[in-house]
Amino acid sequence: MNPPALRALLADSLTLWGVTGRVEIADCGVRIIAGDQVLHVAQAAPEEAPMRWWLLRDGRRRPAGSILGLLRSLRYALNATSTEPARARVAAPL
């Protein structure tokens, strides 16, 4: 996933979560600035598989194995979970 595509997805995600902020392309991948928080998202190197992403904040790195895990980590890091995120539930067959 190239940085512009990642930036677009994360910027849309901030909007979806109701977070005011901006997403910029940075040397490592993208930088997210929301309030007084600055986070970075970087793609993991091939030898770091099965990790695919790193979320960096305050000198700490948190790994994510998929874009789904990255979004979840980022949302929690931004404290954008005013209500418990819904989990998919399976209904009876139609």
Binding site: A5, L9, R72, A91
Partner: protein, 321 residues
Amino acid sequence: MIPVSVITGFLGSGKTTLLRSVLRDPAYAGSAVIVNEWGDIGLDHELLETSEENLLGLANGCLCCTTRGDLARTLIDLAARRKSGAVTYHRVLIETTGLADPAPILHTLLMDPSIAEDHRVEAVVTVVDALLGAETITRHPEATQQAMLADRLLLSKTDLAPDTSALEAALASLNPGAPILRAVHGAIPPDMLFASAAGPETLQHWLEAIATPGARHSAGVETISILREEPLPAVVLPLFLEALAEHAGEKLLRMKGIICVAEAPGKPAVLHGVRHVLHPIQWLEDWPSADRRSRLVLIGQGIPQWWPVRLLEALEEEARA
């Protein structure tokens, strides 16, 4: 499994008139009817000509909020009485109040294991007043919600409104997948309303309605259509649905889709969901038409237009890596 259909529509739209007409049809005369009324004195159920033991009134509250528990208990009690032979019915029709949001009602019907054990949701029919409907859906979010969640939209009082084109355009914008039917005094063959919403006729209608990808906006509601030429790896499907539920959760009012899965391109997967509640994927034996592209419609409020597409592409890229 006992089929359950929900009849909703704004105040005065003609729900009870429709129900009276439906119950005159011999095939529907033996339905169990649950009428929800708001107010201390219920009148609507007095207007229905059906056997007393099959008619239940839920007054003093709205099904979508205060009396949801009553609905569950009523359905479970009814099913128990049916099993014991105390009552006979082959389907349940639920008439909501005019201010009801159908989503929590559907949630109760779909997710309460005691209900889902014996019942299946067949269709949500929303009655829209042909004369006043355009103004109503502009002014009242309840009416908008009712239109968006319909499997079928029924224009009532069409004898009073010679030109319904503006209303039909507004309804199609809110809910492009729902067929718009017409009736005067509720006169319409009930099967046109209550046939399973997962059936081929409904599927074909919304597939045609969403032929154009992109987003349409109306009254703060977005209809986002996704069209994909390439088959999707099977693993992407549950990940995408999980992400939709987790992040778009309460903002996603309805989702329908037909997906070409790379591992089984001849057997399309049909998706149905209300908010974060998803039905198990249906696998069709064949495509309903020559068009074998994946198509997905999301109806929601506050979901960025391109977020679902971007997410899908990101997941697909990871799956193919």
